[in-house]
């Protein structure tokens, strides 16, 4: 396997705020005030903030092999876009080095530098040159580009007369024929309609499987990452936390970034409840793993202390989406409950819930209709998606996503 990108100890430090005031007029005013001994009219109350810096990347190192699709994941602000900007030379690293074999292009560049007054033909050449193609190269591919775009009739018309659809098609045609050895894709999945997403994902798959070209793919869509990437880099606060197979790295990402409480334990003094019942503990037991995915069953275990006995006692469990939507209610059978420790488990089967964030409340009920105490928001957790067929990576709607039988 040959390495096509070698990122070595790359750091990026951004200077926050401006040096001076940002306009000559006010800097001159400050200087004049300094000379004449007056108070600086532009002095900030909080001068410290001006000189602070922000470390967006910290000693990042990784290699990318030829023909591989490398995912880069991480929370907002982790430094993913910064990494790609450095790779495409829009900004430069503060320290470290990157060695590259082959031409890099990004989907950002579609239509960059198109000029409305120029004809389609001129724009193809200009745009091609901006993207780094030589004149000879554009000449060679020109017919193909025009064919692909489907605007041959208007190729000598100024693009300002194009419909926006024609404009985009021509721009996309140039980018598509750039044939970079390395393609960079940042978050395309979060913008554009489903059609466009499909096109982009298709392009990524083509590019990588077709002729051994390499793709760097930044996304928050873990399904797309798991299905498209061969390897994944996990960034956190500008540092590399993990590099590895999509499944393990995505799991590592989930584990680090979910702030749910999957288990709670109370002492007698802080336990929620009243003089009849208190909650001692609650936890989730995931069947087969420690990441709760939609195709995993989970048992919700409770431990209560009953302070008196009840002849006819039952539970009523409510599941809410974190956004407040009531997803379902499930009631236990009634039973005779003795004073003392009381355990209960509610089992949610696999392939019932949709992915998302949820919270659980449980109500203790006497005689089938008299609430004893409602334990609200006992647990919060996330159920992660886990799609194995890998054709569609967009959101799948619905409060639940049951796996039902189909007769076909």
């Amino acid at each position: 396997m040959s390495v096509v990108i070698k990122v070595d100890q790359v750091s990026k430090i951004y200077q926050l705020g401006q040096i001076g005031t940002g306009t000559l007029a006010s800097d001159l005013a400050s200087a004049w005030a300094g000379i004449t001994g007056k108070d600086d009219p532009n002095k900030k109350i909080d001068d410290e903030s001006d000189k602070s810096t922000h470390v967006a990347l910290r000693d990042v190192s990784f290699d990318v092999n030829r023909g591989e699709v490398l995912g880069i994941i991480g929370k907002n602000g982790a430094g993913k876009s910064t990494m790609l900007k450095i790779l495409s030379r829009i900004t430069s690293p503060t320290s470290g080095s990157i060695k590259i074999k082959g031409r890099i292009a990004s989907l950002l560049e579609v239509g960059t530098g198109f000029h409305p007054e120029l004809s389609g033909r001129d724009n193809v050449f200009l745009n091609g040159a901006i993207l780094g193609m030589t004149k000879a190269e554009v000449n060679r591919k020109f017919d193909e580009i025009v064919d692909f775009s489907g605007v041959e009739k208007f190729i000598d018309t100024p693009v300002k007369r194009y419909s926006s659809g024609m404009y985009v098609r021509l721009a996309f045609a140039v980018a598509a024929h750039l044939e970079p050895e390395i393609l960079i894709v940042d978050e395309v999945l979060s913008v554009g309609d489903a059609e466009f997403q499909k096109k982009c994902l298709g392009k990524i798959k083509d590019v990588s499987t077709g002729d051994g070209r390499t793709v760097l793919f930044v996304s928050h869509n873990m399904e797309a990452v798991k299905n498209l990437c061969n390897r994944v880099v996990l960034l956190e606060k500008g540092g590399v936390i993990d590099i590895g197979s999509p499944a393990t790295t995505v799991n590592a990402y989930f584990k680090r970034n979910t702030n749910y409480f999957g288990h709670v334990k109370y002492s007698a003094t802080n336990a929620p409840g009243n003089e009849t019942i208190i909650l001692l503990s609650a936890d989730l037991k995931i069947n087969g793993g420690d990441i709760l995915e939609i195709d995993k069953g989970v048992a919700i275990n409770f431990e209560f202390e009953l302070r008196q006995s009840f002849d006819e006692f039952n539970y009523s469990l409510n599941m809410f989406a974190i956004t407040g939507e009531h997803i379902f209610n499930s009631q236990s059978a009634s039973f005779k409950a003795e004073k003392g420790i009381l355990k209960a488990s509610c089992i949610i089967p696999p392939n019932l819930m949709n992915n998302g964030d949820y919270s659980i409340s449980i109500l203790a009920v006497n005689k089938g209709s008299m609430p004893l105490f409602n334990f609200e928001n006992v647990l919060q957790f996330e159920i992660f998606d886990n799609r194995k067929d890998g054709k569609w990576f967009g959101e799948i709607g619905g409060a639940v996503r049951p796996k039902l039988d189909w007769i076909l």
Binding site: P93, T94, I100, E117
Partner: protein, 285 residues
Amino acid sequence: MSASDKDENWSQIIRPTGGFSAFNIVELWRYRDLIILFVKRDFVSVYKQTVLGPLWHIIQPLFTTAVYVMFGAFVKIEYGGIPPVLFCLSGVVIWNYFSSCLVKTSSTFVGNANIFGKVYFPRLCIPISIVISNLMSFFIQLSLLIPVLVYCKFVKHAGIEPNVYLLAFPVLMVLLAMLGLGFGLIVSSLTVRYRDLVYFINFGIQLAIYTTPVIYPLSMLKGKAVLITSINPVTPFIEIFRYSLLGQGTFSLPAVLYGVIFSVVILIIGMIVFSRFERDFMDTV
């Protein structure tokens, strides 16, 4: 880092930038097609404008020349036998080229933030293409000068004598372009920090014309005024252009040498400053 790193033929190595290296020139050369296409774009966009677009290139110098000539007549400037219109117009044409190079390259960063934020190419391509595009307007203005010259020489029989120094004209233009580009690069670098600088420059350049012999001959000046005017590096270019075209006026070799050295030095400084500030700018887009 092992020795094997050297064996591999990396097509590109990204390191912290800043500072100017010979590599930049090599890279710039690889992007020459792009520069040509930018020039073509500028050309087409001027040409495609309404009639007023190209016409402006003629009206503006004519108008300024008329104002200067009237002013000259009013304060009784002695042009040393040169027809005033020819005297002023020849200066205006040169000065306009220099000032438009300076002013337009000044907004390189501010005007191209959108492209710069999306794709890499040597940023110098933009100011260089501007300097070349400006030749278009220069030649339009020059074509204005020629009929006036012919008229003065053959109809009015003014004692003007285009001479062998005209051969230096291409060199003169290159040096003038270097001068305008050098200043423009420095100003555009400063605009990264001072966004309002472009306005100051627009204003300042209109005042600076009075420190050149566009409107009056150097011979008219005395004392400090001479010094100020000779410090202005555009002065020798105007002098030599006028001399080569009209065979009248003065130019001194030390002054020309000063102009040449100044142009080369300012361009080098400009390129160094530009590549330094380029980096800061990229962090703001």
